[in-house]
Symmetry: C2
């Protein structure tokens, strides 16, 4: 089940959900569903002893071993990897910041194509996640539901017939499910319609967050939309609701892109080409600046202003400019200032062949 160096594998392979091949990939980077599950007979995380943590990791390891759907997955215990590798997994959305930083024993199960990750001993005992490229919550739900059912054959979940799945935080009680999509909305930002859209979405009980979840900024015009409600609705209804709202947001973004192309083409081209110019010429580049420029490049690729650059390569660039990725790519730990040089170097070399239409 485990391989000699799962981090190395993840670094060199292309993960499935970044391929930019799913439905509505021009606007939707990825869809994700996560389920919060706790195992009966164990206290919630805050009251769990170190010995119980180990016992739980063993129990989950056993359950994963028996799962057909989790065959060939990596089972990584946090204590077995370096801090930088944890940051690397955070940057790939495979574990949360809390999971990386938290005290105590923890582990994560990761499928080689990165469509599945199961955090063990995050806020809940288990946090199952399934990712798909583009807008595809239905397939994510189908896969995560299968895995969940399969694990339940071995594990006994904390479940209340009235409330549903019991979770460490009451906001997750019920389905324990959060469905979310990462959207790229540069045109709504450029046309200053984004706040209106976000306000409308909030009224429909959706939460909006930045690139790395709760409390993070919307850098690069990326917005994560997810359901607020986990109780009183079944999973399919929650997913149908969020899918419907997101399709409306996509529609608005596409209209805004068309408006920019039709009415503000000069300004649009100027911004896209300046972004490419900066990425191809800078010698020092901070990650937030890189992401802001790549955001315009992504818009330019969708609107066919830029050639020789696919969404898969571009999505991978968004990941590569992050600190841990940079250090893994260059094979050595480096200071923030050194990384600014290396980031600029990486971007120049990866974008060398990219031209303007």
């Amino acid at each position: 089940m485990s391989m000699p160096d799962p981090i190395k594998h993840l670094l060199t392979s292309h993960c499935e959900w970044l391929k930019g091949s799913g439905p509505e990939s021009e606007v939707v980077i990825s869809s994700r569903i996560r389920l919060a599950r706790n195992i009966a007979g164990f206290n919630f995380l805050q009251k769990l002893s170190r010995g119980q943590e180990s016992a739980m990791i063993d129990e989950v390891h056993g359950a994963v071993s028996k799962s057909k759907n989790l065959k060939d997955t990596f089972f990584i215990e946090n204590k077995s990897i370096k801090e930088i590798d944890k940051t690397f997994l955070v940057e790939r959305h495979l574990i949360s910041r809390d999971h990386a930083a938290g005290k105590g024993e923890k582990a994560v199960v990761i499928s080689p194509n990165e469509m599945v990750s199961i955090m063990v001993l995050e806020e809940d005992h288990l946090r199952l996640q399934v990712f798909h490229s583009g807008l595809n919550l239905t397939d994510s739900w189908r896969l995560i539901n299968t895995i969940d059912t399969e694990l339940e054959e071995t594990l006994t979940y904390s479940f209340d017939p009235t409330l549903g799945y019991l979770t460490a935080c009451p906001t997750n009680v019920g389905t324990g499910m959060r469905a979310s999509c990462m959207l790229h909305l540069p045109a709504l930002v450029m046309t200053k319609q984004i706040n209106k859209v976000l306000q409308a979405v909030a009224k429909l009980s959706l939460a909006v967050r930045g690139l790395y979840g709760e409390g993070t900024q919307a850098i690069g015009n990326f917005f994560q939309f997810s359901n607020q409600i986990t109780l009183g609705q079944n999973e399919e209804d929650i997913i149908d609701n969020i899918d419907r709202v997101i399709r409306q947001v996509i529609e608005h973004e596409k209209e805004a892109r068309q408006y920019l192309l039709d009415k503000k083409r000069g300004k649009l081209e100027d911004q896209v080409w300046r972004a490419l110019g900066a990425l191809k010429s800078a010698r020092l580049m901070a990650s937030n600046e890189a992401i802001a420029h790549l955001s315009f490049i992504r818009l330019g690729v969708d609107l066919k202003l830029i050639e020789d650059l696919g969404l898969a390569e571009l999505n991978s660039l968004f990941l590569c400019v992050h600190p841990a990725h940079l250090q893994k790519i260059f094979g050595e730990e480096s200071s923030a200032n050194e990384r600014d040089y290396k980031r600029a170097e990486l971007l120049r070399s990866r974008l060398k062949q990219v031209g303007l239409v």
Copy 2:
């Protein structure tokens, strides 16, 4: 003496003082000496009738015709050219903003290589100017003195044995001379030493102004240094003084450039290459932004970070991005917004071949 279209000639020829061939051209764009002269028997400008203006223009035209040193010069009356052509001459420093905007009859004498210009009926009856490339006030003084002497054979200047040459503004009385040099000081600005230098220079009785003289901003890190004093010192002493101070400023600028190269190379290269990236990729560019970028390019050329670009071409680009120049180059009048497109287009095409070392 006059040619069918002097403006056209100026647009298509390379003017002498922009060649970047004079001493200290890496730092000093040009040296200029101007003499303020008034003609005896005429009131100062403010009390001059329209008829007297015409008479004076005729008298100056006659004197210029007899001058060997002003052979083949253009004699342009302001009323014979369009507003945009006056702006064009302002941008080339051949006439002042006041001369272009002023009411009443005015004229200007311009040598085809643009080393000599004589404004007729600016603040004084005559404002003689001579330009040289680089730091070369000595040659400018020699040439302007010759022309001045030659004109005096025909014209009778207002002169007082005690005060010297009489001028409309008392600050010019005496020699009526202002010697100035246009310096490019990007490294002193980048290393934040510029204010200290400017303060020291002010104590030595030099005035510092921006790219277009009094009251204009120091855009593009260009600073014009000139003498404050016109009375009580002879011309050679004034020139010696300013020359000595400017050599010190040049020394400081060169030390600052070397410091950047030795100690801040990464940051320096980043700024130079980002500037080139912006100029080569933008689709919309305002003139001040263009000048700011070109300023870094000029520094990069001097420090051999940029290849395939000579100082002459670069100096000419600084001129070409100005509004009237752009309109003359593209052959049609255009709005500020249209010019932003054309400016970006011109810069991209002129810098296409320019690469980074």
